[in-house]
Amino acid sequence: MTLQAFLQVLASGLLMGLLYALIAVGLSLIFGLMDVVNFAHGEFLMVAMYATFGLWLATSLDPVVLMPAVTALMFVLGALAYFGVVRFAMRARTNVGMVQIFATFGLAVLIQGLAQFFFSPDYRSIPKSWLGGKTLDIAGVFLPLPQVFGGLISLLAFAGLYLLMDRTDFGKALEATREDQGAVALVGIDRNRVFALGWGLGVALVGLAGVVLAIFYYIHPHVGGPFALIAYVVVALGGFGSVFGALAAGLIVGVIEALAATVLPPAMKSIAVYLLYLGVVFVRPSGLFGRL
Amino acid sequence: MSGEPILEIRNVSKHFGGLTANDDVSLNVGRGEILGLIGPNGAGKSTLFNMIAGALPVTAGTIRFNGRDITAMPGTARCALGIGRTFQVPRSFDTMTVLENVMVGGFMRSSSTGAVRRAAIETLDFVGIGGRADAPAVELTPPEKRRLEMARALATRPQLLLLDEVMTGLTPAEAKAGVDLIRKVRDQGVTIIMVEHVMEIVMPLVDRAVVLHLGRLLAEGNPADVVRDDKVITAYLGERHRAA
């Protein structure tokens, strides 16, 4: 492989990795807050893509312009998912983990069905947009603009998340809730409100990723699955609950996956990512940056 | 209290990173005695306790049980040799009934379910919660949970029983019942080490008191003498001042 080809694969891997991190961080946030693994995460991504597509179809505005609207919508959806589903799942007295997994799995199937019902199972895409199909050529290394934009959004989201967790009352409430759920009630924080906000935030983050993906990817009721699997691996690799871990693991997974496809038969490139995960947790059972 | 000690702790230290939890602690426990391990918060009682139970590895030193070096042995194996324990915050098996909880311990000594069940019922009667045998463990009151923990540990037929703050949070009447139960256990020939934070409750019960302070052995001897020891008083007063 030439140096240029290597740099190309590396750059593509990093850009994809930033996107993986953005998809995964919402999952990690929700987990860190309340120990819930959300099996409908991929479907939230899909909903965000359809929301972008639907709004684009209705308003002809560019996806970039639609981003705040879609993100806000996803925030509301996340909060609703908490109030409508997860809140009840957390009431379980025993095997809480399994109940959550299957309640959110049921939600995932339901959302897929709704998507098929309202949008038909056809493959949609946004053929024309400001960024779509445009590419930066830096000395023979091509950086597609939608992915560059996605990478920037991802970095901004992580910076914002850092500030939010570190500087705001909401961040402190989140932190307090995840430290000790019982104590929170004593200091007068409404647990349900914090959880709902946490879900809203987590789903809004995956909403950002959905808008970016809608620019350059196809849209389909089942589009979430492969991304969700990667997101789970990213979250676990980085350490459940760790925001920085999600970013680091996302980048690692993106690069490893891209490089593996040049070394292994491409059909088996995911094996490299999976082995990496296993290798890391066998040495560090709580991931790269996990607490536990 | 004659003959060779059941437990010998020799120069045991424990470091957590740069933090020293126990520093060069040596201690003998005689067969059949009730030993009180006391000291203010952060004295290193729980750490020492967990090292004896095998839940934590030592950094340095040796622990011998019945003359046998058990320093590197995991908790499971120590249980097989005859060391039982309870937990500071009771850890019952919450999907099981009270009886089943105790049976888990019983399988240490027998693989016949019938025999284990019969023995477990006896043990439950012995600790005084025989009437709750079929209740789910999760429904027990806190004092009942402490008794369940004790029954579970007794079901493994220990020679040495480690009790971790079993009196904490009990009303005076409950504590009195607890004291009676511990005496009854000792009368069966079981050696007991109990960690307690509150001295007043345990002093009449223990044969010998060992006071830890800042990870080191501060005083040891007859409980009546120990509570009058200046060093001990300072250690506890110091803590009260800090707390205030």
Binding site: V37, V85, R91, R93, T94, N95, V96, G97, M98, V99, I101, F102, F105, G106, V109, L110, I111, Q112, G113, Q116, F117, P121, L229, Y232, V233, A236, F240, A267, M268, S270, I271, Y274, L275, L278, F282, P285, G287, L292 | A55, T76, C79, R85, F87, R91, S92, F93, D94, T95, E100, V104, F107, M108, S111, T113, P136, V138, E139, R152, A153, A155
Partner: protein, 322 residues
């Protein structure tokens, strides 16, 4: 009569009723649903050993199912060895695999363990997908032969498959029943509820997990062998995907995790629901069947978090948590 004897009587009743069923129901489609229900009950019972009793939530059991299906198919299609032996071989291979994988994996806790099982099953899927000696993506076609209990091929008759699936369920049930009241059963539940406390009571935590994994993998592979014989054609996508791992856990969770009857009750609700919504509503292609299926799973798991079975417990336990 003790509680345990009552269970055996109940099982006999269920077995007799189910054995008579193929003589009453003659509809091939309904018998097919019955076969699947019993098969998933057996597979979920196998999963329950590790996931329900021992508390190790595996979401990668499709791997063992696939190993069973592939071992049986390769032995039969390539060497003419009867699926009875093939499934047994698959069971043994799976058991060894589970022990080998358990060694590193049981160091992991909670979600790290579950994700590891997903990832390992995905690796297995990709390897089989790209392994030409076992057909790769093309899969393995069973030779079409006459009806026979040796080759387990029956052209139109579903009753033999009902009996085979029922047999598999009864075996997994009896094994669970027997273990539930033995040292291993107590140890597994102790490991699930509180590993630290279990260790202090002399429970061999690691060995308990390994034993549960081996047994669970063995029976899951037998189920895979049965499925291969039942369908007579397998490919990686139709026996090794994540979907199956979920389908093994789901009945136990819906019925009552870590209970003797949970898997059967859960499968009896879930499988007919899945099949019938698809068959009678799926033809339109508008996703309505998925909407109903998804909503029902959600509602059941939320309304009865301890499983459908908890409906029948007389001493329904009050909610201890806020």
């Amino acid at each position: 009569m003790t509680h345990r004897q009552l269970q055996l009587v109940l099982l006999s009743g269920v077995v007799i009723a189910l054995a008579i069923l193929p003589r009453v129901i003659t509809d091939v489609y309904m018998l097919n649903v019955l076969v699947l229900t019993l098969m998933y009950a057996a597979l979920s019972q196998s999963w329950n050993i590790l996931g329900g009793y021992c508390g190790q939530i595996s979401l990668g059991h499709a791997l063992y199912f696939g190993v069973g299906a592939y071992a049986t198919s390769v032995f039969y299609a390539s060497f003419g060895i009867t699926p009875w032996l093939g499934a047994l071989a698959g069971g043994v291979i799976s058991m060894l695999l589970a022990l080998g994988l358990g060694y590193p994996c049981f160091r992991l806790k909670g979600h790290y363990f579950s994700i590891a099982t997903i990832v390992i099953a995905e690796i297995g899927l990709l390897l089989v997908h790209n392994w030409d000696a076992v057909g790769g993506a093309l899969g393995i076609q069973w030779p079409i032969g006459p009806d026979s209990w040796v080759t387990l091929q029956f052209a139109r008759d579903k009753a033999p498959y009902v009996y085979l699936a029922l047999g598999l369920f009864v075996i997994t049930w009896l094994v669970t029943y027997w273990i539930e009241d033995s040292r291993w059963g107590f140890w597994w539940r102790a490991v699930k509820d509180n590993p630290e406390a279990a260790e202090s009571l002399g429970v061999e935590v690691f060995r308990s997990k390994m034993a549960a994994a081996a047994l669970s993998a063995f029976f899951t592979a037998l189920g895979g062998g049965f499925y291969a014989a039942f369908v007579s054609y397998i490919d990686p996508e139709s026996v090794m995907t994540f979907r199956f791992s979920l389908l093994f856990a789901l009945p136990a969770v819906l019925g009552g995790i870590g209970t003797l009857w949970g898997p059967l009750v859960g499968a009896a609700v879930l499988i007919p629901l899945t099949e019938i919504t698809r068959s009678y509503m799926g033809g339109s292609g508008n996703g309505l069947d998925l909407i109903i299926y998804g909503a029902l799973i959600m509602i059941i798991s939320l309304a009865k978090p301890e499983g459908i079975l908890s409906l029948f417990h007389r001493n329904a336990k009050p909610d201890a948590r806020p």
